[in-house]
Symmetry: C2
Subunit: 406 residues, 2 copies
């Protein structure tokens, strides 16, 4: 019978049983956003590579400005103009200054830049400085930001746009990332027809292939679609064998009736071993996790909402196990807009619509009786009610996981 795991146990089984085996590849920096870093990014250079000014002004020796004021300016000899992208022709001598633009190179010998607003150009080669500068003022020193050997981004990080600047500034044009795990998607069920067909009586469209395809790709995986397979153990076994040989992970959805469920389990067992059969959560209890070699094979419920959440939670975790990705599901507190009843020993995950009023986030649980599709469509995230929870009143605080950040 079922070897039912709690969700925590199921996560733990995934971590124990599956390990990174997907090789790295080098992609251009323009294509690396959202990919998983295969190795630490370590600075090989100083950033900035030269000492720079942060303002438009005059590079000076700070000591030459001590004690100056509006009424008694420090008078400095203008040694020249430093242009953007160029170095000073000579070092700065005492009693002198160079004009320097924002981002321009500060010459050797200067230790401060006085903003142009606090100076006066007398037009005769003399600059008056009307405010004393302390050493280091308005200067970014070479290596202030990065020095050779510093770890900038760790292996296992999913690269965001905010990381790309560091790669570009270090001159990294190709980035070593983990290849996208390839996930095979199989739908089973005699009642299924392709989505472009009008279902006859008793038939339904194959929702899961399309939803799981989008979800897996949203999670950074590649997908391979095997289409609809009848409830036939021989057929399913053949397709599964092919999928295991072509993919890094396989999802079989459907087979939710007892006979079909047993057939899916038997077919998974034929090609590997069953790690568990059943997760104590709602929806998604009849989930199977098997292992074929080093590859996860999920038997997902046919119900789209159940298949969605099992994929969002557990297939997500398996992707991270295969790629070495370090990830955290971010949550935010929200106010529940209506009461939720008890769970009878199973944790329950359900989609929510979010709204904001007076700076507070409100979560409206979407739980239709059937919950075929409307329990997902138009939702912004999900909440999980723990299995020991005796129900929640309207107004209770819940933690929402967002589907997208913006």
């Amino acid at each position: 019978m079922f070897t039912v795991k709690t969700p925590e146990e199921a996560f733990s089984v995934i971590e124990t049983e599956f390990h990174p085996f997907i090789p790295a590849e080098t992609v251009p920096v323009s294509a690396c956003c959202g990919r998983i870093l295969a190795e630490d990014i370590i600075s090989s250079e100083y950033v900035p590579g030269f000492t720079r000014s942060t303002v438009d002004g005059y590079a000076v020796k700070a000591s030459d400005t001590f004690g100056c004021s509006d009424s008694i300016p420090a008078l400095l000899t203008l040694s020249g103009e430093i242009l953007m992208g160029e170095e000073a022709a000579a070092a700065l001598s005492a009693g002198c200054c160079f004009s320097v633009p924002t981002g321009g190179a500060v010459p050797e010998g200067a230790d401060a830049v006085v903003m142009i607003e606090y100076t006066e150009d007398y037009g005769d080669g003399t600059i008056g400085v009307e405010k004393p500068a302390s050493p280091g003022l308005n200067i970014i020193y070479k290596g202030d930001d990065l020095v050779p050997g510093k770890t900038v981004l760790p292996a296992g990080r999913r690269i965001t746009a905010s990381d790309i600047g560091a790669l570009a500034s270090l001159g990294i044009t190709g980035v070593s990332v983990i290849k996208r795990p390839q996930i095979g998607i199989i739908s089973t069920g005699d009642e299924l027809v392709p989505i472009d067909q009008v279902p006859a009586g008793g038939q339904i469209r194959d929702v899961n292939t399309h939803m799981l395809d989008a979800l897996c790709r949203e999670m950074g995986a590649g997908t391979r679609i095997y289409g609809i397979v009848r409830d036939d153990a021989v057929l399913l076994s053949g397709i599964l064998e092919k999928a295991i040989s072509e993919c890094d992970m396989v999802l079989i959805s459907g087979g939710s009736s007892v006979g079909a469920r047993d057939a899916a389990a038997a077919v998974i067992e034929k090609h590997g071993s069953i790690l568990f059969h059943g997760i104590a959560m709602k929806p998604g209890k009849p989930t199977i996790l098997g292992k074929a070699g080093n590859r996860p094979v999920f038997g997902l419920p046919g119900h789209p909402v159940a298949a969605f959440f099992i994929t969002k939670l557990f297939v997500r975790h398996a992707i991270a196990a295969l790629t070495g990705e370090k990830y955290t599901v971010r949550t935010a507190p929200a106010v529940l807009t209506e009461a939720l009843s008890t769970n009878h020993g199973r944790s329950e995950t359900l989609g929510v619509r979010l709204s904001e009023r007076d700076g507070r986030l409100f979560a409206e649980p979407v739980h239709t009786k059937s919950g075929l599709i409307s329990a997902l469509a138009g939702t912004d995230g999900y909440i999980t009610i723990p299995r020991d929870c005796e129900g929640l009143p309207a107004g209770a605080e819940v933690n929402v996981s967002f589907y997208a950040a913006c």
Copy 2:
């Protein structure tokens, strides 16, 4: 001089000045995730399309089971087996039942399904029902989830994987979405060299082209890269004219020194009008927003961190204005790990690294002196300190916006 706006005023200018003009296109359902819906998705069908069982069991008339028990089962005549994907050959008569699988069609005349666990098959064509069923038990009625005319997803929504199931179940194979806005990216500065070159003294690599490219695409736009343009008003004017004619929005980054800044403003004004010059925030104060026809033209600071946050906040808002996207930046409370000093009248946005301990989220602000790159690399989100804030102590609660949901 500068027409400086508060961030709120800048958002408001964007909403007032820019409006959707980007046309729709039809993409396959497999390619619509992350795109903006051009029109409401309205159900044209019943979902489910027939009345279904949610369990493996027997479809019955509930009234035939009233009063039955383990010791006195209700005895029903088995009229037949309903297979997955098929309809019952006949309606259910009183005193009879059909076996039905999970997801199978419930025959005309039945109003409940008794789970197989509560029945016994006597093998002679008689089924004993040991637990009374109430009408509606274990049944999803036709149209329970969706009925024709119901709005399933609103125009302006960014489609998530959780929405795809609804599209698939309605048989929608092509989805009308707003074309990706094309954003032209221009970097200016005599000090810039392409990232694959080793900068000579006084030069730096062109970080912004690559970072803004990734960020704009992460926000759902397409990009067109115009490369590095010298600080030359004639050259810049020519490139800007070309970019305006080829793109829906243009970003010019750089020109942070006074002379170059004025040149950028003049060139933008030559091709349209300046809406504001300066946002009272840190970093990013010297931001310019112009309008060329119905197209936004941003003059972004050259400093990568400033360019990043102005794009994340204001270019994001302009993308939404052009596409009609309805979006909300989600935030979550976190505990500040160290004190932040006062702002002197400007709101301040800075990147944070996130960690979780004991179920609480901690935000470590990343503020190096120079903040060229390390203020972004490896961060997980950002916080904004309001301009009227007199500094925050370590342990204060701040609201974090995440870069990515997982």
